[in-house]
Every structure is written in structure tokens, then in C-alpha cells.
């Protein structure tokens, strides 16, 4: 039982990092940015490469995050901005971002091969501890620590002036623009930050499990589910959703069967969607 809780915590941390970025983008740009999974995967592969070349973990993660941020800039600058000029509907964005995910995922597969890769982690992180019947590794502790750190940073950022602009853009794009807020620059910032988080999460996930080209897809899926559960665009709700999803996943692996893990999580969310379309915590 304690093991399930501990597993849920790590699971939830990973989901949370991706979900927050996703939620942030949705709040501001008002569409499901499936390309988020692309940066998640890119982050994983960059971390893999850097660790392979012998760098230390912190460096690898930071660089992965920065490269992820750059990818976010690219997606916004080259694709989404153009769609925005045309006042495209959210469905068009959705399909376009799906295209991005497919392109990036398959590029990674072509470059690195479709098989899974294991990241080389220093042995210090491999050692495990046992606490009241639950087993966890130092790596997992690090994941939680990084998650908490980044999430706190995010919330601090949202209180800054730029964060204020971001929030006002989310609330009322028209009015924000009228007040002189540079929408294009804000969008770049949003995608940059969100993608940074996703990329770091990808690196962390890679360390926890393995990396493979399709990881972007499953990574985003759970993030989306967490956001939807907590109410799209509601950041606090996203945290709650991630925790719940982490628990659901770990519980279903332990108590039911591992191969049904995805389906069960999906069914939980689907039922929730049908019953309470606004999410557990209603977003304003």
C-alpha cells in the first residue's frame, strides 16, 4: 500500500510537469497543444545524448529544457503564429499540432531508431532506500524534488510583471492587446516556458524508465488527462488532477493488471468528463 502511494508520488510529479506546461498553453492560446509531446520526447533524447557523452545530470536536464524551450519557440513562431493571424479555430490548431507531434516523433525514430534507449545515470542515483515498506531510488527522490522546485518557480513567475501579462492575456486576449501587451512575445514566452517544463519532464521520465520515439504521445496523453480532470486552464486543478491520475495509474498497475493501465486511467477520465465536463475543480 505504501509502495503504491510512493509510486503515485513519482508518477504524479512527472505527469505534473508536463501537465502544467500544457495547461499554461491552453489557458493562453486556447487549444490543445499536442506538440507538447514533441518537446517531451525531444527533452528525453537530448538528455540521453548528453548523459551518453558524459555530462552530469543537472547540466543535461537544463540543456534539455533549454532546447525544449527553443522547440517551443519554433512551434509558436513558425506555425502557430501564422494560424493565429488567420484566426483559425481551435480545431485547426489541434490538427496542426498533431502534425507537429507526428513529424517530430518520427524524425526522432529515424534519427535514433525505434527501439528504446536506457539513459546512463550515475550510480549514486541508483541506490535505493526502504521506508515503511516502500522501495524507492534516489533518482525518484530527485524527480520529486525537481518537480516541486520547478512548479514553485512557475508560480512565483506568474506573480511577476510578465506573469501578470500572461495571466491577463489568458483572461481576455482582446483587452490585453488593447492595453498594449505584445501578444506575439507573450505567446513565445508561454510556449517557451511550457516546452521547457515538458522537456525537463522528458529527461526525468527517461531517467526513470526508458526513452522511445513514441514517448511523446503517451506523455502528453496523461498530461492532457490530468489537465482535463482538474479543469482545463486551472493550474491548481492540474496539480490535483496529476496527483489523482498518478494514484489511479499506480493503483491499477498494482491491484489490477499492468496491461490495462492506460485503459483504466482513460476510462476514469472519460467518465469524469461525461459526468462533470468542467473538471473536478471548475475553472472560472
Amino acid at each position: 500500500m505504501a509502495q503504491v502511494l510512493v509510486n503515485s508520488l513519482f508518477d504524479a510529479s512527472l505527469i505534473l510537469l508536463v501537465a502544467l506546461g500544457f495547461s499554461l498553453v491552453y489557458r493562453t492560446a486556447r487549444f490543445f497543444h499536442l506538440g507538447h509531446g514533441a518537446t517531451f520526447a525531444v527533452g528525453g533524447y537530448v538528455t540521453y545524448l548528453l548523459l551518453f557523452l558524459g555530462s552530469n545530470i543537472a547540466f543535461a536536464l537544463i540543456v534539455a529544457g533549454l532546447i525544449g524551450g527553443l522547440c517551443g519557440f519554433a512551434m509558436e513562431g513558425f506555425l502557430y503564429k501564422r494560424l493565429r493571424r488567420r484566426r483559425s479555430s481551435s480545431l485547426i490548431y489541434l490538427i496542426a499540432s498533431l502534425g507537429v507531434l507526428l513529424v517530430v516523433q518520427n524524425l526522432l525514430a529515424l534519427l535514433f531508431g525505434s527501439e528504446t534507449h536506457v539513459l546512463q545515470i550515475p550510480e549514486a542515483l541508483e541506490s535505493s532506500t526502504r521506508l515503511s515498506g516502500a522501495l524507492f531510488t534516489n533518482a525518484q527522490v530527485m524527480i520529486v524534488a525537481v518537480a516541486i522546485a520547478l512548479v514553485s518557480l512557475l508560480f512565483v513567475f506568474l506573480k511577476t510583471r510578465m506573469g501578470l501579462f500572461l495571466r491577463s492575456l489568458s483572461d481576455n486576449p482582446f483587452l490585453a492587446r488593447a492595453m498594449g501587451i505584445d501578444v506575439d512575445r507573450m505567446m513565445l514566452a508561454v510556449f517557451g516556458i511550457g516546452s521547457f517544463l515538458a522537456a525537463v519532464a522528458g529527461g526525468l521520465t527517461g531517467m526513470e524508465t526508458t526513452i522511445r520515439p513514441a514517448m511523446g504521445f503517451s506523455g502528453t496523453l496523461y498530461a492532457m488527462l490530468a489537465c482535463i480532470m482538474g479543469g482545463m486552464g486551472n493550474l491548481a486543478g492540474t496539480i490535483v488532477g496529476s496527483v489523482l491520475l498518478g494514484v489511479a495509474r499506480s493503483a491499477s498497475v498494482t491491484f489490477i493488471a499492468p496491461e490495462w493501465r492506460d485503459s483504466i486511467a482513460l476510462m476514469v477520465v472519460l467518465i469524469l468528463l461525461f459526468v462533470k465536463p468542467g473538471g473536478i475543480i471548475r475553472s472560472s
Partner: protein
């Protein structure tokens, strides 16, 4: 020649799917569950045919009824959701369906697939698969004509109005939910037909034939061909089936080929959304606000 017939048969089967999805999309519903319903139809037909040895027409009808029923089951809660969420819910269904195909060994024999699926008893032998081509084309034509009839009828006008401004349709006194539900049920029926044809033609099905990606593929066919344009759907289907086949001639190793295919699909989606969101032959800018 056999090869061309094979391609045409595949185009025909997928055309049935994309025409029915186009119908649904004309009502403003973006469903990424069509591949899953297709798979359901295929599996039901396979089980009925291989295990219970039911004749072709009976199994086809049963599988189509099964997909219609499941489609309704899916649609009833999902249609209450707004556009993006609807797409996600249907996609969630597609993922769950694939997991069921893969894991429910009792019915679907999972990754081992179902073999020896019987096809219809044709009156006389003709060259190779020509009979199948005839059968599939017949069904495809029927689907096309029915869909066109539907779209051009007063019912179709309501459907298209729903996709453009649902609130106005409700305002004019119509139960939009019911219109959408019936449209979805009707489209689901045809996925069963397509699934049965697919099952009987290939005589072997496997969960990998019905990945969530398959649903996305069918959506790509509709998007590329043009929402609201049935001829466009046929065009889109042809493109998305022929291009991977053409790539086959480049003799890429199979792992690379699969990824290249998907990469091109993704690229196609991006380019279409950037430059021609209504698709090649799309008449309605129903994707734009």
C-alpha cells in the same frame, strides 16, 4: 494487376470509412474513434465468421449492428461535449478499444490475430480478387450515394447548419443533440460494413490493423480531401493509401518506411492546416470560426 486491384479494394474500404466520417464531420463532430469502430466491426465479423461460421451477409449485418450500437453508446455521453473535448473523448475511446483488441484474449486472441476468416461465397470463380473489388466498389458506391442524398436533403441542411452555428439551430427549435446522434449512429453502421469487408478480404486481422493511429489516418483522409466534400474524401483516401504504397517502391527497410509514412502524414497535416484548412476539395470553411 493483382496489386492494383488490391490497392483499389483498400481504397474502397477506407473510402466507406472516410465518407461516413465526413458525414459526421459535416455535423461539426470531429470523431477520432472511427478506426476503433472499424476494428470492432472487423473483429465481430471475424469472430462470427471464423468461430460460428455464419455466412457473409449475416455476419456483415450483425457486425454493422454491433458498431452502430457501440457508436451510439459512445456518442450519447460524448456528444454533449464541446468540439475539442469531443475529439479527445473519441480518441480516448480509440485507445481503449485498441487495448481491448490487444488484451482481451478470450475474444480477439490478442496479438496472435484471427485467421481463416471466410468471405462470401461467390457464384463463379474469376481472376484473383476481382470479385472482392466488385463487392467493395458496390458498397462504396452505395455509401457515397446515401451520404450525398443525406447531405443534400433538408436533414443535411440542418446538419451543416449545426456545424456552422449550433446555437442558431437550437434557437430555431431543433434538437441538435438528436440530429448529431442519429448522424453518428448512421455513420457507425458503415464502419461495421467496412470492417466486415476488410476482415473477409484479408482473412486475417490483428490488433495492429486498428491502432489509434488508424483513426487519425481516417481523419487525415477527410481533412485532406475536404470536409463536406464526399468526392474529396475519396480523393483524400486515395492519397493516403497510394502514397505509402508508392514509398514502398523506394525499398526502404520496413522500420524506416513506417516512420517515413507517419512523418509525411504529419507534414501533410501541418501544410494543409497552414495553407488549405478546408482540404483540397472542401467547400465549407467549417473548420474556421
Amino acid at each position: 494487376m493483382d496489386y492494383i486491384i488490391h490497392i483499389l479494394i483498400l481504397i474502397g474500404i477506407y473510402a466507406i470509412l472516410s465518407i461516413s466520417l465526413n458525414l459526421v464531420a459535416s455535423a461539426g463532430i470531429i470523431s477520432v474513434a472511427h478506426g476503433a469502430l472499424f476494428g470492432l466491426g472487423a473483429y465481430v465479423y471475424a469472430v462470427l465468421g471464423a468461430t460460428f461460421h455464419l455466412p457473409f451477409s449475416v455476419a456483415l449485418v450483425f457486425s454493422s449492428l454491433a458498431t452502430t450500437f457501440t457508436g451510439i453508446l459512445l456518442a450519447v455521453p460524448s456528444l454533449r461535449l464541446k468540439g475539442d473535448y469531443l475529439a479527445l473523448a473519441t480518441f480516448g475511446f480509440a485507445i481503449i478499444a485498441y487495448d481491448i483488441f490487444d488484451n482481451l484474449l478470450l475474444f480477439t486472441k490478442g496479438p496472435m490475430g484471427i485467421t481463416d476468416i471466410q468471405g462470401p461465397d461467390f457464384p463463379f470463380q474469376v481472376h484473383g480478387k476481382t470479385w472482392y473489388l466488385f463487392l467493395v466498389t458496390a458498397f462504396a458506391v452505395v455509401t457515397y450515394l446515401l451520404a450525398r442524398r443525406l447531405l443534400q436533403s433538408p436533414w443535411g441542411r440542418v446538419i451543416r447548419a449545426i456545424s456552422e452555428k449550433e446555437s442558431l439551430v437550437t434557437f430555431s427549435g431543433r434538437n441538435t443533440y438528436r440530429y448529431k446522434l442519429v448522424t453518428f449512429a448512421f455513420a457507425s453502421f458503415w464502419t461495421g460494413v467496412a470492417g466486415s469487408l476488410y476482415s473477409s478480404y484479408l482473412s486475417y486481422i490483428h490488433p495492429s490493423n486498428f491502432l489509434p493511429m488508424t483513426s487519425i489516418l481516417i481523419l487525415c483522409m477527410v481533412v485532406a480531401g475536404g470536409m463536406g466534400s464526399l468526392t474529396g474524401s475519396i480523393l483524400g483516401t486515395s492519397i493516403f493509401i497510394c502514397v505509402p504504397e508508392v514509398l514502398r517502391f523506394l525499398n526502404l527497410p520496413s522500420s524506416v518506411a513506417g516512420n517515413t509514412n507517419e512523418l509525411l502524414f504529419g507534414l501533410a497535416l501541418i501544410l494543409f492546416m497552414l495553407f488549405k484548412p478546408q482540404g483540397i476539395l472542401g467547400k465549407y470553411l467549417s473548420l474556421n470560426e
